[in-house]
Structures are given as C-alpha cells and as structure tokens.
Symmetry: C2
Subunit: 200 residues, 2 copies
DNA sequence: TATGTAATTTAACAAGTATCTAATTAGAAG
DNA sequence: CTTCTAATTAGATACTTGTTAAATTACATA
C-alpha cells in the first residue's frame, strides 16, 4: 500500500465528527439528514465528511429514491487499521510470521468448513465468532456467479437449502460487504473486497 | 479508550513526514539531526513532529550527552492501530468474541510457557513467532522488580541461568518496550506498556 | 570561562480544514 | 408543470497545521 493512501486513511479518521459517523453507521445504514440531526451539524457538513470517508474507502452508499444511505465498508476499516503497522515494520521483521499467519488461517478455514457444514453441504448453525462466521459466509458466497445480478427471491432460493434462516444470512452478505444491493437487485462485490480476511 | 485519544493517534499518522520518521525508526533509534538530514527538513521541523508523535505515545526518547535518540513505542503502534476498529464496533457485535479472544490467549500463554521452558525454568529456545516470543519475554520480565534500577551486568546475570544468549534477550527486552535503558542503567517499563499484548 | 553542538522555542506565513448559510441540483409525486 | 425533499455546491470565516529562519536553551568539553 502506498504512503499517501495510508495518510489519507488516517486523515479520514483524524476528526471526531467522522469517527462518530462511523460509530453510528456500525448500527446500520443511515442517510445524511439523520446523521446531521444526530450530530447537531448541517447536512452540508455531512456531505463534506462523507466525501472524505468515501475517498478513504471507509463507507459506501446506496441510493433509494432521492435518499442516499451510507454504510460502512467493513473490509477497509479492518484492513487499513493494520496496514500502518505493516508499512512501518515491513523491512524489519521476518517474513515467516506473515506466512505462518496465512497457514494458520487456512487450517482454521478447513476446520470451520468441516465442523459447521454437514456432508451434504447444509449449514448446521451460524458461528457466533466473527472470524468463523466470515469463513462460512465467504464459503457460501463463493458459490455465486461474479458479475451476475440476482433478485432477492433468487438469493433466498440459493440460501434456503443450506440454512433455513435465509433472511439473516442474506443480511450478513450485505453487512460484511460480500454483496451489494441496489433497488432490490443483489450483486457480488468484487472479490478483493472480501478476500484476505485473515489479516483481521 | 477515549474519542480524542483515538483522534490524536490518527492525526499523528495523518502526515507523510511523520510516517517516514516511524519507518526510519523501525530500523533503530535515530537522533534529530540525522532524521532532519534524511528527510530534507530542518531540525525544527523534526522537533515539531516528534512532539506530535510523543503526544500520541508512538515514540519514546533517550538522552545521551546532549543528543536525543528517538525510538519506536512498539506497543502503542500495534495497539492503537486496532483500537479504532474496537471503538466503532464496540456496541454492535457480542462481547463474547472479546472474551473468547482473551481465553484463547491465556491458553496459548500456558502452552508456550510449558513448551518453551524446561521444568527447571530454562528456556529451550527463543520462539520465532512474534506472539510466542512476546509471551516468553513477558514471562521472564515479570520476574524483575518494578521500579528497581539494574546495571547491565545484573540483567545479564538474571538472564544467564535461563538462556545462554543473554545479549539477544536483553536487546529484545528493550526492543519490545519491556525495559527502558538510560546511560547503561536498565529499568522496567510500567506494566501497562507491555501487558495486554493479546490484542495484537 | 569560552566554545561548540544538538535541540527547542518563537514568530511568521502559506496551505489546509471544519463549519456555516445560501443557492442549486436531482428526483418523486401531486 | 409545480412543489417538496434530500443532497450537493459555492463562498465565507475561523481555526489548525507544516514549514522555515532566527534566537535561545541545555549540555559537554577544551
């Protein structure tokens, strides 16, 4: 990762109003007006901050009629946070540690898939631990076609044979940025947005 | 952690010159003049940036005659990086995850101490993996007295019965901020500086 | 005591930023 | 076409910040 990308990430988080926006968005998507009211600032100020957060890839947005809803980009928040550490120590420590980390993740991945899925591919239960939940979601989502647009009904039909609570899983797909929804149409997010979660 | 502490941490990293300073310091301690020359700025500028980095607890310093050497505060760099993530998601996920993480760490701690030390308390070898190495170092350092000043000789005599390569271990104590050295006198850093590495 | 070196402080300036008000655009719905 | 709502843009203001040159402090040593 480049220096100025890291700088702009930290600039984006170097303001209390913007951090408060992110905290509110962690509860769920919100539109500009609501944010403005909650934070006691004008909508213009929200637009200003949203621009900075968007430039740092910390939020995405979704338009519904003439309201724009902002939502967290979980992936970048997690990844950029540790990117600074990697940048500073890149030339110092030994590479083995990173390799070992990836190795560990692969093993975890295997064991999670073995333990949470039946031989027939049914999901026994949704893991409570975030890391494991993400492995399960990634496993499911990787069975969808990249670039294809799905209706909500199609998504439900895809999840149903795997787990009865399709609504929860469909919501998790969106929350964790595996999928993107626009006007009731679902589409896979680019792989780079959700692959490499092992750095979490 | 408070909001403004997080903000000042990110402000500290929201400048390319300061990040470059940290990258240079990752190679080892440097004084102001050297940093100024390497970065093509005046010593006054270095003083300015050093103040900000110090306020965010990202660096420490050590005086030798009238030269001040800056050194990284590894602990804070690692910890603050992920603090923002915790702050944002604090009220969302379930607390169990954090508890589970601490549980996992305690188990790892036990197994590392059992595997790397003999029954007599000798260190078989220095772990290559950072996380494990830190557990070993913490285990050793916790046997020293808080507040007491040690000569280098005393430190060596303390380490010798545990592991023959006392020089390496002594250096690691400093590198990872377990101890602080001033004019050949060693002293334990405050516990909060090196406890809770499990969030790494 | 005088001299030299490293760091800090001060004052100044240019650039950047957070916020607001007021004007404008984009879209929806009567 | 008109009206309403949500968001953005433009312009203004006050505050903050990165940098420098010059003066000052702190310490060491000859």
């Amino acid at each position: 990762m480049q220096l100025d990308k890291i700088v702009s990430y930290h600039k984006a988080l170097a303001d209390p109003t913007r951090i408060k926006i992110l905290i509110i968005l962690a509860e769920g998507e919100r539109n500009g007006q609501v944010l403005a009211e909650k934070l006691h600032v004008t909508p213009a100020t929200i637009t200003h901050h949203a621009t900075k957060l968007r430039e740092a890839s910390l939020i995405n947005e979704r338009r519904d009629k003439n309201t724009i809803y902002f939502l967290l980009n979980d992936y970048f928040i997690h990844n950029n946070a540790t990117a600074i550490v990697e940048l500073i120590y890149r030339n110092v420590g030994n590479k083995k540690e990173v390799d070992a980390m990836e190795e560990t993740h692969k093993k975890l991945q295997e064991s999670v898939i073995n333990n949470f899925f039946t031989a027939e591919g049914k999901l026994k239960q949704i893991p409570a631990q975030l890391k494991k939940k993400l492995i399960v979601l990634e496993h499911l989502v990787s069975q969808l076609e990249e670039g294809r647009k799905y209706t909500e009904k199609e998504i439900n039909h895809f999840i149903k044979p795997v787990h009865e609570d399709f609504a929860t899983i469909r919501r998790e797909f969106i929350m964790h940025q595996f999928m993107y929804r626009e006007n009731e149409i679902y589409e896979l997010n680019p792989r780079e947005l959700w692959a490499r979660w092992e750095t979490l």
